[in-house]
């Protein structure tokens, strides 16, 4: 396995002003600001990209692979996310976009939307077979899988144990090209920062078949130019409306065709739903589609177009595809022979907020945390660099910082000290004191 704590989302320290805007929005309380700059606690980060969206200085970035990576392979296949179709005006055809993409140096293109169609059908079968076994959670968004691992491990068994459309696309390509001499490289064209992490450090499988993840925004300029220069559109678009719809919220939910499904986007709403699922409050729901980004993958941090505009474009394309019935449905909804869809690895609880592995010690620490928290002002102002007074109390007990990080506590200390000094100052030497 690659570095356990690899993250796509990182901080450019030279741009960070230490403003503390990012610490509030992080859903896993993974960010602290210390010594005038933010840093990310690696074991807590789930690569949701919220901090990229909120940082006013553009200091949070997602690392993806450069297109020059193609040079290391003999035969290169692009697997674009359906979100790519939302980045160009609806009048630009899918074939035109794919032809342009191919011209950037790829030998072939395979749409992730096509794999999404296969997964829609497999998921539907899975839900029918597991009817009555509770509510199942889509595992296609890697952020959700990581969030469940770290914050909701009691729901791990409810994740649909299937690989993502990206992964399936790569497996299909690799299977197809297995007899080709030379090195075949498969590159995901991504709106998603978390997919970069998911390729380097996947969940549910031992290693990813994807060789590189290229951010949509990183190739957008060249791609836009290429789109305008396409002379002859190749018939590369095979996916239908069903697969394309996965780019937006409720695309997957509707495609799996479960009567009782809900679709939720935006990390805060997602957390709320997971809380409710854990409390047993959500019943009579077979399937939940949870997307970390606003609007679904169209809102991904590596996408370019405004998510709501992109969503509307995707919907227009879906409508058009539905009308053109001649389009062949991907792989007849079945994975090609030799391609497996199921997870092979058990997911583990990653209790990133655990105070101590020893229960008795953890209890002691929690008692201390409560005492410290009660002594803090409770304003959750963030000026200490922690997202809340409670988080600061935890950091203090974990030995990461001290109480005087709190400006109010610091002022109290200074006041006490001043009082003491004034008292001392008023004392005369014993010989003169009368």
């Amino acid at each position: 396995m690659e570095d356990h704590y690899f993250h796509s989302v990182t901080l450019d320290a030279s741009l960070c002003k230490g403003c503390t805007v990012c610490i509030k929005g992080c859903p896993t309380e993974a960010i602290r600001v210390q010594k005038g700059r933010a840093w990310i606690i690696p074991e807590r980060c789930i690569d949701c990209g919220e901090c990229i969206r909120t940082c006013p200085s553009g200091a949070k970035k997602a690392i993806s692979d450069p297109i020059s990576l193609l040079e290391q392979f003999d035969y290169c296949v692009a697997i674009p996310a359906p979100t790519l179709y939302g980045q160009f005006r609806a009048s630009v055809s899918c074939n035109r976009i794919l032809t342009a993409l191919k011209s950037l140096g790829f030998d072939d293109v395979y749409e992730v939307a096509a794999a999404a169609e296969i997964l829609s059908h497999e998921t539907r079968d899975f839900l029918i077979q597991n009817k009555g076994k509770g509510t199942f959670i889509s595992s296609s968004c890697p952020v959700i899988v990581r969030l469940v691992e770290s914050r909701f491990p009691s729901l791990l068994d409810q994740l649909v144990p299937m690989i993502s459309p990206m992964e399936l696309s790569a497996r299909i390509v690799k299977e197809r090209e297995k007899d080709r001499p030379g090195k075949v490289g498969v590159f995901f064209i991504s709106p998603c920062a978390a997919k970069v992490t998911d390729v380097k450090n996947p969940r549910g499988i031992t290693h990813s078949s994807v060789d590189g993840v290229i951010g949509i925004k990183d190739i957008y300029k060249e791609l836009k130019l290429a789109v305008s220069q396409v002379e002859e559109e190749e018939p590369l678009n095979k996916a239908s409306a069903l697969g394309i719809s996965w780019a937006r919220t409720d695309g997957e939910g509707a495609a799996v065709n479960s009567e009782n499904h809900i679709s939720v986007d935006g990390i805060d709403h997602v957390i709320d739903v997971l809380e409710n699922l854990e409390n047993g409050h959500i019943r009579d729901v077979d399937f939940v589609e949870l997307m970390s980004c606003p609007g679904g993958c169209v809102g991904g941090p590596l996408a370019v177009e405004n998510p709501y505009v992109a969503r509307s474009i995707v919907s227009i394309r879906e409508g058009r595809h539905r009308e053109e019935e001649s389009l062949s449905y991907a792989e007849s909804f079945h994975p090609p022979k030799g391609v497996d869809l199921l997870w092979t690895e058990q997911l583990e609880s990653r209790a990133t907020h655990l105070l101590d592995p020893d229960y008795k010690t953890a209890i002691k620490m929690m008692e201390e945390i409560e005492i410290i928290r009660k002594g803090l002002p409770g304003l959750d102002c963030g000026s200490c660099g922690a997202p809340s007074c409670r988080a600061l109390a935890e950091d203090i007990v974990l030995g990461k910082t001290s109480e005087t990080d709190c400006v109010f506590k610091l002022r109290e200390k200074i006041r006490d000290l001043t009082r003491e000094m004034i008292q001392l100052e008023s004392r005369m030497p014993p010989g003169l004191d009368r």
């Binding site: 914050r151 491990p153 009691s154 791990l156 809380e275 409710n276 854990e278 409390n279 047993g280 409050h281 609880s349 209790a351 907020h353 655990l354 105070l355 101590d356 592995p357 229960y359 008795k360 953890a362 209890i363 929690m366 008692e367 409560e370 935890e394």
Partner: protein, 138 residues
């Protein structure tokens, strides 16, 4: 160690806050997932019940080496027929509450199913005390 919460009545938007907070704490303590889930379901159900039927109250939670005990106290109307209230499907939730989707006859049975021990002391006109015990790790 002990935690206290005050629950305000008739405010469904705040209902469930105490359960969420306790859940977070149990996770920090490394309590097994299955216990957390049972605690979450039992306590949430009881907390919602308190909002629906009793105009709020107080919750006291004690976590020790192997037992989590949750005591919910309200000064609400009390339960006239406990045996009836414990039956599957029984609900005294108001129409408005039921339309919200809460308290649709799961209530006490659901707590009983998810906990290791459930006792209810109720005096009509004075209030109800619900005590839920959960063994850690089972």
């Amino acid at each position: 160690m002990n935690f206290e919460y005050q629950v305000t009545g008739d405010d469904f938007s705040l209902a469930g806050r105490a359960s969420s907070d306790i859940k977070k704490k149990l996770k920090q303590l490394g309590i097994p997932s299955c216990t957390i889930k049972r605690t979450a379901i039992s306590m949430y159900e009881a907390e919602i019940n308190m909002v629906i039927h009793a105009d709020g109250g107080s919750i006291s939670i004690n976590i020790d080496d192997d037992i989590i005990s949750i005591v919910l106290k309200d000064t609400g109307p009390g339960i006239p027929d406990l045996a009836l209230a414990m039956q599957e499907g029984y609900t005294t939730a108001s129409e408005a509450a039921r339309e919200l989707g809460f308290g649709a006859g799961m209530g006490l049975m659901n707590i009983k199913r998810n906990s290791d021990n459930l006792t209810i002391d109720s005096i009509v006109g004075q209030g109800t005390t619900v005590t839920i015990l959960l063994k850690i790790g089972e």
